[in-house]
Symmetry: C2
Subunit: 161 residues, 2 copies
């Protein structure tokens, strides 16, 4: 299973993540942009994801909640900037529990033939906001989500493709 | 006349700008959020600003053009994140000439009594994007705009206030 590469340099309000996935980019792209697929992998296994809004166009809004076993909900939202495509996705990201704190994410899908290199670039308003996101358990949640994505892609990708 | 303080550290995809203005923050805030006032100061004097959209609410869009003497237009747009207030404005920013390149701006208005310290924090997707913005003449345009803002505030602020 591929490993996630995460860079968070001291003094820079940015997190760079990359991970190679074992599926062609058209299939990987679908798992990022089709709500029925996205809910199957984004975030830790213990949370149930529900997408309220997913208006995938330039200026369109998205919103989802993650609910834990106790019923506690964590809501996230943002707005797509430019129309998402195989060339990439640009979107804002907010946790509703910290209003006014916004980050800007750019996701790209590099074609490696039968594999895809996904890169996520997130920039934050400050290093403090970036660090708070990391300390909230970002990396563990990210890794667990990407492991689930590996499993989903194995189901979606024809054997021998 | 106050000077603009601009920080653009090497290797950090961010620009921090601060400037003290000679008016109470309620008046300064109006010049950032009322289209009739904003067009009187934002940008260099040689450009004519026209606001097409200015939907000042959470999730609302804005768009304006700057036109030079030759009739060439430069269009900019973005989306407000959170409802703008005296506590600050968070918005995205795009030059339509470079689609896919987005920055995230946070403006705050610090109350200094009869004066206001305005801080603008812009984060970019990369240091390269940040540097391209600076090389496009950002600082000169910013200073000229803020000089025009000083002039506008002098007209809006009661004498002796």
């Amino acid at each position: 299973m591929s490993k996630t590469h995460l860079v968070a340099e001291p003094g820079v309000p940015q997190v760079l993540v990359s991970r190679e996935l074992n599926a062609p980019r058209e299939i990987v792209y679908r798992t990022f942009t089709e709500p029925d697929l996205l809910v199957q992998w984004l975030g830790p296994r213990r949370l149930t994801m529900k997408i309220d809004t997913f208006d995938i166009r330039d200026g369109g809004a998205w919103r989802y909640t993650h609910r834990d076993e106790d019923g506690t909900e964590y809501a996230f939202r943002g707005i797509f900037h430019g129309t998402p495509s195989l060339d990439g996705i640009v979107q804002t990201f907010e946790f509703e529990g910290t209003p006014g704190q916004v980050s800007l994410e750019t996701v790209t899908f590099e074609d490696l033939g039968s594999r895809t290199l996904v890169r996520t670039n997130a920039v934050y308003q400050s290093v403090a906001n970036r660090d708070a996101m990391i300390e909230s358990g970002m990396e563990a949640g990210l890794n667990e989500g990407l492991d689930r994505l590996d499993e989903l892609l194995a189901k979606l990708t024809p054997v021998g493709a």
